[in-house]
């Protein structure tokens, strides 16, 4: 070894020793500062992407609760994502219009009167409540129907996939009510903030960040609560939980409903960042891709879900713009590798690495 490399190595060791002396929360603090300052650090294109992907992370954290801790695999999260997205999109469509007029796509399809279930979405408070309530209520009803008959596991996953297919085809076929294949798009403002104003995307990003943080800490609390313990117990030994006098179905239904609400919030935020919502974002393929974000990050880890959502989606943006055909090989390989070799995702790998170091 030459003197130069020895000196460099020494320097590096000194540096890493100094890093080790920093408080444990340092990396979290650095990330938090960077996240808050992102609007001043990134181009508006990248900021928009970051906003979209942080919205995805909200859905991903719901999957950590449902799949990682509840052992319930849903291949239909896109449905709830879509419900939330369409709720806010319907509101923006209506608020753009002068009173009494119909959204453009309805006029094109020859609709003469606003469908009754569209009308209340003109009210912003109703729309915001609906973003949470519609997916929540629908998720609770759907999961109750399946879980109370003790149907679960693989069967449940297959049924949720059929749900995603049915939802997407229904959206496409009811062009006159939903905008069909193109979905809802062309929004000028949300709650009075114009999308043309450069401050709006920045504000939107911070709102997304705050909601993400709130969901993160809320879920962290929930997972460490009694409910979290019983949910994990239902995952690991359903019958034992039953013998203890609890009904595991209730915990699964609760987890599914919360995950559905988070997916709804995620869909609404995404719609705001992306400026559109369409069936292509809610069907079978996007729904199962949502699971892979979490699988990559680590299904048991909330931070893993955020990291996974960002990593997979930024990779998608970069790869599919450079080599569009390669993306499917990449994501396909990712599905296979993530579950065969990294069943606990990156966070699991990190824990193992830390464990071996200590």
């Amino acid at each position: 070894m030459s003197d130069r490399t020895a000196a460099a190595l020494e320097k590096f060791q000194a540096f890493s020793a100094r890093l080790d002396r920093l408080p444990r929360w340092t990396p979290y603090a650095v990330v938090a500062v960077l996240a808050v300052a992102a609007p001043y650090l990134l181009s508006s294109y990248d900021l928009n992407l970051l906003g979209r992907f942080l919205s995805f992370a909200v859905l991903g954290m719901g999957l950590v609760l449902l799949w990682g801790h509840g052992g319930v695999l849903s291949l239909g999260q896109g449905v709830f994502f879509g419900l939330g997205g369409y709720c806010i999109a319907m509101h923006m469509k209506l608020s753009d219009l002068p009173a009494g007029e119909l959204p453009d796509f309805m006029v094109w399809s020859g609709v003469t009167e606003l469908p009754w279930w569209w009308a209340p979405f003109e009210n912003p408070v109703f729309a915001v409540l609906a973003i949470i309530a519609v997916p929540g209520v629908f998720g609770a009803l759907f999961s109750w129907l399946v879980f109370h008959r003790r149907v679960g596991g693989t069967y449940f996953a297959l049924i949720t996939q059929a749900l995603a297919l049915a939802f997407a085809t229904l959206l496409i076929s009811r062009q006159d009510w939903t905008g069909g294949f193109n979905g809802l798009t062309n929004f000028s403002n949300v709650f009075g903030f114009s999308f043309a104003d450069p401050a709006t995307p920045r504000g939107l990003y911070w709102v997304t960040l705050i909601i993400l943080a709130a969901c993160f800490f809320g879920l962290k609390w929930l997972l460490s609560s009694r409910f979290g313990v019983l949910l994990r117990a239902s995952r690991d030994g359903e019958n034992r939980v039953r013998f203890l006098g609890y009904d595991p179905a209730n915990f699964k239904i609760a987890a599914f409903s919360i995950a559905a609400m988070l997916a709804g919030v995620s869909g609404a935020l995404f719609t705001l960042h992306a400026g559109n919502i369409s069936p292509a974002l809610v069907g079978v393929v996007p729904s199962i891709e949502m699971v892979i974000w979490v699988a990559v990050g680590g299904r048991h880890s909330l931070i893993g879900a955020i990291v996974g959502a960002l990593l997979v989606n930024f990779a998608r943006d970069r790869i599919s713009s450079a080599f569009p055909d390669l993306w499917y090989y990449f994501i396909g390989g990712l599905f296979i590798l993530a579950v065969t070799f990294l069943p606990n995702g990156l966070s699991g790998a990190l824990d193992r690495w830390r464990g071996s170091k200590a």
Binding site: V151, V291, F335, V339
Partner: protein, 301 residues
């Protein structure tokens, strides 16, 4: 609603049920043995379809389609064998992870098909003897028309179903498969090589899906996503059928095929799809263990 429309839809339902059944048989059998679902099973249909296309290029004549059937069966079975050996057998203790990993396989196979054959799809021309049909012009059932291709589908399905039932009942392998299906641990304890049984059943099921692919090629173009359009109903057949029962799968496929065809008399395809899901969810309210329930005192079957 007139009688001829009803009869036409009845027949459509039977042929739809046949395709669902061919697509679902392999899934249901493997699920009974290993409790895992292969999400790339739809791509076995696709492989069968493309193999039919290739076979018909080499063997053009009117009987090319009859050559394509065994080719597709063997091709898809070989592919299934590789998939089972390399991936699924390693994951079989983790059913949900198997879903995800095999979905990855499905994405890769679809993209590969897109790269090899193009995204638009290829046409397989049905031979003349399959192009006609039975048409009733007079009498009480005037207007009933039954395309030969659909009769062909039903005949193939009946043959496959009958063949499998006989093989399960009267061959040594069939006996072993039934044994593993009933009680895997006990079967292993008596010296049956359960991994080999898994592999054979998986190959068999993939091969049958390959046959379904040939049949689909007669109905429309073979595209990279041709399997996807039939696989979700096939999954629902598995959910409704009950564990590892051929009879259960057959009844479930018939119920779903008929339901879908009858629903399409009054509503469009997309609503029929929604109704089909509603039907399955309502069905499990009454029979959560499927059409044919396995009798067992075990806590978890």
């Amino acid at each position: 609603m007139d009688a001829s429309l009803f009869l036409n839809q009845l027949f459509n339902g039977a042929s739809l049920a046949s395709i669902y059944l061919l697509a679902a048989l392999g899934l249901a059998l493997s699920f009974g043995l290993m409790r895992v679902i292969n999400m790339a099973h739809g791509e076995m249909l696709m492989v069968g379809g493309y193999l039919a296309y290739l076979t018909l290029i080499i063997v053009p004549g009117p009987l090319g389609i009859l050559v394509a059937l065994p080719v597709a069966f063997i091709g898809a079975a070989a592919m299934g064998g590789v998939l089972q050996t390399v991936l699924i057998s390693r994951l079989s203790a983790r059913p949900l992870d198997t879903l995800l990993a095999t979905w990855g396989v499905s994405l890769i196979l679809q993209q590969a098909a897109r790269d090899i054959f193009g995204a638009i799809g290829v046409e397989v021309r049905a031979p003349d003897w399959l192009n006609g049909g039975i048409r009733i012009a007079e009498g009480a059932f005037a207007g009933v028309s039954i395309p030969s291709a659909r009769i062909f589908i039903i005949v193939i399905t009946a043959l496959v179903l009958g063949g499998l039932a006989l093989a399960f009942q009267y061959t040594k392998m069939g006996l072993l498969i039934r044994a593993v299906n009933q009680d895997r641990m006990m079967a292993a304890a008596t010296g049956i090589n359960v991994k080999r049984v898994d592999l054979i059943v998986f190959c068999l099921g993939s091969g049958v899906a390959g046959l379904a692919g040939v049949v689909l090629a007669l109905l429309g173009p073979v595209t990279p996503s041709v399997g996807q359009s039939y696989i979700v109903p096939a999954f629902l057949v598995v959910v409704m059928g009950g564990l590892g029962s051929i009879t259960g799968a057959a009844i479930a496929a018939l119920l779903l095929g008929m339901f879908s065809a009858m629903a399409q008399i009054s509503v469009d395809l997309s609503v029929a799809q929604v109704l089909m899901l509603v039907f399955v969810i309502l069905f499990i309210q009454f029979k959560p263990e499927g059409v044919i329930a396995r009798k067992s005192r075990a806590l978890d079957v």
